[in-house]
Amino acid sequence: MAIANQRPRNYYYKKYRIAYAFIAPTLIGMIVMHFIPILQGIYMSFLSLNNYTLSQYLGAPMVWFQNYYDVLLNPSSPIRIGLLQSVRNTIIYTVLVTTGQIGLGMIVALMLNLEFPGRSFVRTLFLFSWIVPTYVTGILWGFMWQQSIGIINIILVDWLHLLPTKPFWLVGPNTIWAIIVPTIWRYWPMSMIMLLAGLQNISAELYDAVKIDGANRWTSFWKITWPLLRPVWMIQVLFGMIYNVYSFNIVIMMFGNGAGFPGEWGDLMMTNIFRNSFMRWDFGVGAATSVILLMFMIMAVNIWFRFYKKAEESV
């Protein structure tokens, strides 16, 4: 402590000058692209920003917490139309997609961790769905889910005879599956590639050791692979949670390229906020909903971080 105090005040600045220079572009980028828009969004959430006041933009009349009241407590506010359904759908969607993509990613990663000819080719092939842009995924699956001529029903009903009649996927409660499955399909390769990298870091000796102790593959997976990969899949859980809560493209493209309403079982938070902000021109209320969502996400990430810290300490 005494030595540190003797150093000149700008000692650290001088010592790490080059590091600061390297960080600066990212920092500036973050401030311009993230922090300023977030602050502006929070400010907008206190404004009555609709089609009458839009031309005044940030000079629109201040209504303080009225927008928050409308979102959370006012049952006759237009923002409340379908809000709870989109909250419910977003929760179901996020949980199932995140679980699905990590689960599928894990299974394929375990398979690709085995030595077999053509392994790198298969690995590259599996990455294809990740390369497809999300809006293309939405359009493509929109065609595939069609009731009478869609390939999914043709496979399920005409070829495999798994179902007696062709169900509707884009209309009614099945809509939730119509948005969950393509999202898993789009994102599982990312989980797979990260888990595979993690798997390759686990020493083979550990598996040999438990084998001698009489463990089968199932036990060795749950006793060795799963706990040792915890930092990897926990990061995946975090990414999955954030990506999926803010999911937009696949849903909006699947239901008529933004033309239609995805339905009571297809509407997510983002499509709801988009509709209220950009189609119904209630930017203040849209911003308030976004801020509330942001608060929830900060809380969720905090909870996640506690688990992650524990996991890191145990590893």
């Binding site: 009458y52 237009p78 209309v171 009614g172 409660p173 933004g258 033309a259 189609m279 021109w281």
Partner: protein
């Protein structure tokens, strides 16, 4: 030393002043001799939106060599957001195409130029179709902000081979009762034509831009409406609106419409009709253009159906025979620096010859009365139906709140098709009234907020 710095600064500021004043003079001189560039945003109104419009504007360039026009085509899906952003940021084009239902909302933002004086010089209201002229300003305002450019009206397309086979005629489908009886006859006949089973009627469901437009004529023709006469109250929760909706939905529940239609959009239904799947559809005049255009130019003239179809107006309901009428208008942004040149462009596009030419390319109908005198609109008896239909055409009220109400209605009526599909024992008046009650509450909440 200090003295030299002072002189230096003085010399520098003098030079800067001279450079800038020189620049501004040069640019002023340049402007008078240079051509003006007018920027124009349009939506894909035809297969080649920019190319087609450039062809129509060739005549303009001959008479106005000093005005250049830069056309940008926006997707309908992105247009609403782009135009709103442009209106707020000021980074806007000179001229913008606006869907008729958007005019009031964007005008209410104060982003559009007042064109009243200019439009009066070319004849004002009398120059345009009365039904579409209503969309040129906010209802009740005397400020004209968006000049009608073209009209999108709807009519009924039916297969003449199916009708001939079953002994049906055009007059059989002129009323609601007759229309239903004809559909029933087609349904029972179980026709297979050209290798395809012919379903009586094709209508798009919820994943479509036209969810509300498709319902509107049925609601209006039953005497119902969306808003009250003074546009201050909702009139959704009325027996007439319910009756109109009930009739339309019954066409589905009675099996005249295959349920698979309900997940399709207008383009898919059109395509299915062209391929022989339906006996009847309702569509805009651009479908007629499609069926009379060669495949090389993106049409479906070569199909079996293209040689065997006719057009009829909407069947007469208990209280009327209106068709839905939309279309697009042209407006000049307030921030435009080339207002005079921009007005010249709009004046040209709303004169007779360019109107006819653009309609030939886009398939829409003109907004200008004298354009209808062109033989193009009467020589084909099918196009003549549209010429008549636009007289009975009805547009949504041009009030600022409509832009906000429409997405709410599109959502509610979209869900309606979900319910219709799931309903095991039909979807009768009880269910419809419940649905209209919810829609009414939602519209009231918008009206309350926008008082």
């Amino acid at each position: 030393m200090n003295k030299w710095i002072r002189y230096g600064i003085l010399a520098l500021s003098l030079m800067t002043f001279l450079v800038f004043s020189g620049c501004s003079k040069a640019s002023k001189e340049g402007a008078s001799s240079k051509t003006t560039e007018v920027t124009l945003w349009v939506m894909p109104n035809s297969l080649e939106p920019v190319n087609d419009l450039e062809k129509v504007l060739e005549g303009f360039h001959k008479t106005h060599p000093n005005i250049k026009i830069k056309i940008t085509s926006l997707d309908w899906g992105a247009a609403w957001v782009r135009i709103t952003t442009a209106a707020v940021s000021g980074d806007a084009p000179d001229i913008v195409q606006l869907g008729t239902t958007w005019v009031a909302a964007i005008s209410s933002m104060g982003a559009l130029s007042d064109l009243t004086t200019q439009v009066n010089k070319i004849g004002g209201a009398s120059h345009f179709l009365p039904s579409i002229w209503k969309t040129s300003s906010i209802e009740g305002s005397n400020k004209i902000t968006a000049i009608p450019w073209f009209v999108d009206a709807r009519a009924m397309y039916y297969r003449t081979d199916v009708f001939n086979k079953l002994g049906l005629t055009k007059s059989d489908i002129s009323t609601w009762a007759g229309f239903q009886a004809a559909l029933d006859k087609i349904n029972k006949a179980n026709l297979m034509i050209d290798g395809k089973k012919v379903a009586p009627l094709g209508i798009p469901g919820k994943n479509d831009w036209n969810v509300v437009h498709n319902l509107a004529p049925w609601i209006w023709n039953a005497g119902g409406d969306f808003l009250s006469a003074d546009y201050k109250k909702s009139s959704l929760n009325t027996p007439e609106t319910a009756q109109g909706l009930a009739y339309y939905i019954s066409l589905v529940t009675k099996g005249y419409v295959t349920r698979a239609c309900l997940e399709k959009n207008t383009a898919q239904i059109e395509n299915d009709f062209n391929n022989g799947t339906f006996a009847v559809i309702f569509d805009g005049s651009n479908e007629l253009r499609g069926l009379t255009t060669s495949p090389e130019q993106g049409g479906a003239e070569d199909t079996y159906v293209a040689k065997r179809f006719d057009i009829a107006p909407y069947p007469q309901g208990p209280k009327g025979k209106s068709t839905f009428m939309g279309g697009s208008n042209l407006a000049i942004f307030k921030g435009s620096k080339n207002k005079e040149a921009a007005w010249e462009v709009i004046k040209y596009l709303t004169s007779k010859e360019p109107q006819v030419e653009y309609c030939k390319r886009s398939g829409f109908m003109p907004s200008v009365v004298e354009a209808f005198d062109d033989p193009y609109f009467s020589e084909d008896s099918r196009r003549a139906i549209y010429k008549e239909a636009v007289k009975d055409g009805r547009a949504y009220p041009s009030v600022p709140s409509w832009g906000l109400i429409e997405p709410i209605l599109a959502r509610r009526f979209g869900i309606m098709w979900d319910y219709v599909l799931e309903a095991k024992d039909g979807f009768g008046l009880t269910e419809i009234n419940k649905l209209l009650g919810l829609a009414d509450k939602e519209v009231v909440s918008i009206l309350e907020k926008n008082k």
